[in-house]
Amino acid sequence: MSVDLRSIWTWLSLALLALLVVFMLYPVANIFYGSFGVDGGKGSGWATLIGDPKYVRAIGNTILLGVLVTIAALAVGVPLAYLSARYDFPGKGIVSILPIITLVTPEVIVAQTWLMLLGNNGLLRRWLLEVGVTLPSFYGWFGLVAAMTFIYYTYAYIGTLAAIRGFDVQLEEAAQSLGTSPVRSRWKVLLPVVLPSVLASALLIFTLVVGNFALAMILGGRVELLSVMTYQAAVSETSANPVLQSTLASVSTALVMIVLFAQRWIVSRGRFEVTQGRVARPARLSGLAAGLFALVGGAVVLISLMPLMAVIAGAFTRARGPVMRWGEWTTANLERVLINAPGPMVNTLTYAAAATAIAIVLSALLGYLIVKRNNALTMTLDYLTAIPLALSGTALGIGLIHAFNGGWLPLTGTAAIIVLAYIIRRLPFGLRNASSTLYNIPRSIEEASVSLGVPPGRTFLRVVLPLMVPALAAAAVLTWTTTVAELSASIIVYSGGRETMPIQIFKLIDSNLMAQASAYGLILIAVIVVPIVVATKLFRVDLFSSRS
């Protein structure tokens, strides 16, 4: 379809295009452009980068961490998915709530609770020491890999589960009827169909590790990592170095982009048309096997739930400075957070509410234009909205402060730049949620409305929008839950007095004030969980309909 200048959609597309160019493309372009600037007479940022072994090591470490965590997460997630898709065992219901657990637990809280349990003065570490077991230091590789694995295995779990569930068992039966043994046929037939999904989740996990800020920063110890160095280059007050910041941000963006392209290629190649046949019925297990499966599933769930339990315990535990008096209960931490210092809470709620509202309006409009008004212009919009997928929060934060620091649109130091960071980070996901139902709305429904005398714009509001409401509600809930927990971009763009809860928690962890951090953490989790419960139970919103 060609671009029609008389259509209101054309004008809306142009307006949105302008917005995306100014607030999304411009900051990203700024990062790349900035990296070629001259760094204190030593040549461009790239020269500094290559010349300093510290940065080269950081790139190597980041890739190594990505590979290690990806392998570990697959090792946990894929078997778990296979077990829960093909077998029934005691406690399987609990395994299925796994995606919700990682969704509701902000990474900064995960890092904090691991420290409370296994840090230098951690609860578990001290118990184990009493019985004579000495654990290696949790700061560094051990902590990084352990903590990240138990967050990111869910992506492997969800991706693989969907693929196995969508698999037609008749293929397996066909293979057996042709003379292959059950084990061999499963290996030969199931694996090639599921493999693309496994690889796609592997690459997703890799990009998440590369971009990870909270865990890398809090648990990294002496391990040099790209995201940590980028952050330090951005906030260091003695040597604020815009060129180096841009260069480091460019490296991580390029790394993620390469992986994303690889992922897209694998997904597009691996898209077998599995005609929906018969889905495998889970086999019921009993005896030893059932016990074993339940044990494995239970252990994974327990470790996933640990942050939640630790944060609840921590929030109600008396503390004197950094010393936790475990076993002495108090509400003083929560009182302080709610009454004496409610600023971070109020900020979080305000910014996230604004970001969610704007992101949903944008998602609805962009989703509609991209899916329903397919032309060159809306295709450009489609590509632009994918940009944030390649940006780590840290890189985005640096792009935003460089782009809007003074100049024609000074946003640095305002609340707007935090809201902007939230919107940009979540837009691709909100868009995907919002547009999921659009594919199921036939063009004829809109045409029916137009033929009955309602102009296209009003047709959208009266006919299409009401049908998008369930998807938009899911998008709103998911945008809200992720923006209130956002740390890596907001910590770079925020200014004094505009701390959000994750930023405050991060600072408190830095000062080793775990009880107060837990109190904020508990409120943060409540702010995430309550909307999810209300949406799914009261309004029956299906949060994950667009993922499978």
């Binding site: 004829s444 029916a448 033929s451």
Partner: protein, 355 residues
Amino acid sequence: MKIAIEELGIRYDSKRVIDGLSLTIEPGTLFTLLGPSGCGKTTLLRAIAGFVPVESGRLLFGANDVAHLPAHRRNIGMVFQDYALFPDKTVFDNVAYGLRARQVVESAITTRVGEALERVGLVGLDARRPAALSGGQRQRVALARALVIKPDVLLMDEPLSNLDAKLRHQVRATIVELQREARITTIFVTHDQDEALAMSDHIGVMNAGRLEQVGTPAEIYRAPRTGYVADFIGAANVVDVSLATPAVANTAVTAELGGRPLAGHAPQPVPAGAAKLVARPEDIGVSPAVGAAPGAITARVRQRQYLGSKTSYVMTLVGGQKLAVDCWGTGHDSYAVDDEVALSFDPAKTLVLAS
């Protein structure tokens, strides 16, 4: 309202799919655009509705050129193949939708929607949502919704193709009845020739973006102007013949089929040489070869399908050409496979066309 299409040009995906098409549809009649998928009939209908931009030419509703008027200002009623009911709205709200857009007062809406639903035979289903209706009921709601706004033109895009055979006949009757009653100019798109013959005042047979022939159902069936039309309407035999001398329009001609002379009728001029002979299966007579007149065209029975009221045969001519022949009446099943038979052609019903 009279519809006049003048030299219409439509470009779709940078390809000219309709080029200089002209057509007049008389007020109050039902006009069917008939053709195979991809012939441009739906594109033409959607251009008339305003969903496909017109590149050149005029599109007149009465005296107004609506070629460049937005769809929502054309006052059309449209019925879609997939019903296109608003899934979140009740039957009543679906039908009331166009009236509300026209800011009709709510009391008048209640009356008019009630009347419309009664006319399509859907009383008492006002509060249902589309998901709770059968396919036939959905199509009736769609029809009521299009008619209740009293459109100038009713456009129907294969409205019956998603229904099963029995329902199709019922809804077909409802459409014709309502259209006659309201005297509303209607354009109906279909690829089903039975539907076209049964419902239309006039049929336009489309092929590759052009109108091959426009006429009444009887004209299209009895006097197809091209082999394409003959082939598309009814299971006609289109056979290669040759002509010794050119034929003038509307005259009797003698063609040569497999070395034997055959009398036919040329509705248009036909040049000498290769030509096409069109004969309907039911217009070919069959008799035993034994005792047939000398010079008669003979054939051998190849296939035989006994269908109760008639028997359908496939015959092979001496030259190897195949003919479908239907026999009716007493003894219609009296020939067996491999029997030698003589065929007779009614000169008035045997058409000779330019190839």
